[in-house]
Symmetry: C2
Subunit: 333 residues, 2 copies
């Protein structure tokens, strides 16, 4: 098992990346890590090179680079070299905490789509409040416009992921819609509902509303990339705002409030943990020939290690190979 790591992507790179890789190395001694980036900087945080190979490059993609241009022009960038390694069969998966758009482009143009999958989707496991299991949602924004046929593929992709990587038997697939009734929806969701209802390979449970996602309305939620992106950002924005508002309210309420907050420390910590979806790993551009996984740019070593655990699960369960077989059958039918 070989992972190509973009050591230079993310706000705290390469330190957080290197430290995360060292954490993961302890857990998975069978894994080989290829670290792409500035050798001197990487070595500064590396205790030893067991199971680690450094591939030096001076070039990197910045967070504000225009994605497609960056991939095409910065041919020696750490992210591009890592994607090339996957393409050439030198690595089995790629990890990055860098520019999301660039990683999506690298995934599509360098690693490549599985034959039969039209539009790979960005998938994340999101938290279900009060439960240890989460739900998988896609597309979270790899595409701005989707057809009903793409959403059906997302249902299959999501089911494979939930079943293999998260161990959920017969995952319940829900279609994000503006009402739960069968007749509800836009032209896109109405057509998708019809197609999903007659799709034999998934367990379709009908429409789900955005309000019920965090309550575990489904194990897999499919939607077009534009809506998925808006919903994800709404959830993030609301959660962040409430937490910062709560902090402000506590500060404003003087000594009494501060004492109260001190007593509530454990409860607030529990809340933070429930809401933390870095605990499920990163976002996968799913539908490609190999795992292409992205974590938040701001993540620390722990989240890097969690994401590598997620990649390990994807490789061990051979979820991508199973998808290839599934879609080969489909296309030859």
């Amino acid at each position: 098992m070989k992972i190509a790591v973009d050591a230079m992507g993310g706000d705290h790179a390469p330190q957080a990346i290197v430290e995360g890789v060292m954490l993961a190395r302890k857990e998975f001694p069978e894994m080989q890590f290829q670290l792409y980036g500035d050798e001197t900087q990487i070595k500064a945080y590396l205790t030893d090179e067991t199971n680690i190979q450094i591939i030096h490059t001076d070039e990197k993609i910045n967070s504000d680079d225009e994605p497609v241009k960056a991939i095409r022009r910065k041919k020696q960038a750490s992210m591009v070299l890592a994607a090339q390694a996957v393409k050439n069969g030198e690595a089995d998966a790629i990890f990055s905490a860098g520019n999301t758009g660039a990683l999506l482009a690298a995934g599509l143009f360098i690693v490549g789509r599985i034959k039969g999958i039209e539009r790979p989707g960005l998938l994340s496991t999101m938290p279900v409040m009060g439960q240890t299991t989460g739900f998988d949602m896609l597309d979270l924004g790899a595409n701005a416009d989707n057809k009903a046929e793409h959403l059906v593929q997302y249902a299959i992709l999501g089911s494979f992921y939930a079943n293999n990587v998260r161990g959920i038997t017969k995952p319940r697939v829900g279609l994000l819609n503006n009402g739960t009734e069968e007749t509800k929806g836009s032209e896109l969701t109405k057509k998708t509902f019809e197609l999903l209802s007659s799709e034999p390979n998934i367990h379709f449970i009908g429409n789900v509303e955005a309000r019920d996602l965090l309550n575990g309305a489904a194990d897999v939620v499919v939607t077009d990339g534009f809506t998925g992106n808006a919903v994800l950002k709404s959830i993030e924005g609301t959660a962040l705002n409430i937490v910062s508002l709560l902090k402000q309210s506590i500060l404003d309420s003087g000594l009494k409030g501060k004492l109260g907050a001190l007593l509530l420390k454990d409860a607030l910590k529990g809340l933070k943990n429930e809401m933390d979806y870095a605990k499920y790993g990163g976002a996968v551009l799913f539908g490609l020939k190999a795992p292409v996984v992205k974590t938040h740019g701001s993540t620390g070593p722990e989240a890097v290690a969690t994401t590598i655990r997620q990649i390990h699960a994807m490789l061990e369960t051979k979820v991508v190979e199973k998808l290839v077989t599934q879609f080969e059958q489909k296309t030859s039918e």
Copy 2:
């Protein structure tokens, strides 16, 4: 100023509605209230009939009735009679806490669109965290599919509302998109961006992301009804989940947690108030010949009174008449 009130709509009708009307009556002695519904039930909560007229009917629309069918078949329903009164010029606006879909249908089919407005949009004022002003967003789900031209009309409608009803000079209009860069978006948002950029009657500030809405990214946010509905429900669902999770965390953390919560009572109350968007009134189906306004089915008397205050502002500022003039000019251009 005459308001047609559907006294039978909502979970706590007619009590909450009647009590809310009595609160509003004190504030606005110039307003006449027509209460449509069961006379005996209404009278049970009415102290006296000053400025109040009861129009008795046995029929009402239930929350689970199919909207368009209900409007067509239940011709004597309190909501239908109230909408008819507006159509016939016997009332200036309609208020209901009942079936949202039915009220939208009653608005469209009975009250009717302003000439030149293709698709009226559902508008709500939502809270901006830490500020007393909110932002107006539309369409929140009156339509499942929208064209770019509709979104341009929403920008004009929203600007008129923010300016007249909320007193905001030159309201900043943002287009909800999956990135802030000009080049971002779906086919719909890219086309809308182009049209909004050359629209003289609004102050367009570009794309806004769902993550930044509650931070006050714009005074008016326009989007298609499908996305708007998903974003609204995501915000609601996330807020409700966090609050109930916080409560659960406090309960689980024993005596210490409960004491902490007691000390934090004021802070938590402040948080609840910040998040409460009933304080801005109800949702307006905007673009019709008269104000058609809906509050949450679960609202109590206070929220009913707040919504009547909102209707009062709409009537007093003549925002609908101004829209009629604006769109008449447009269509005759």
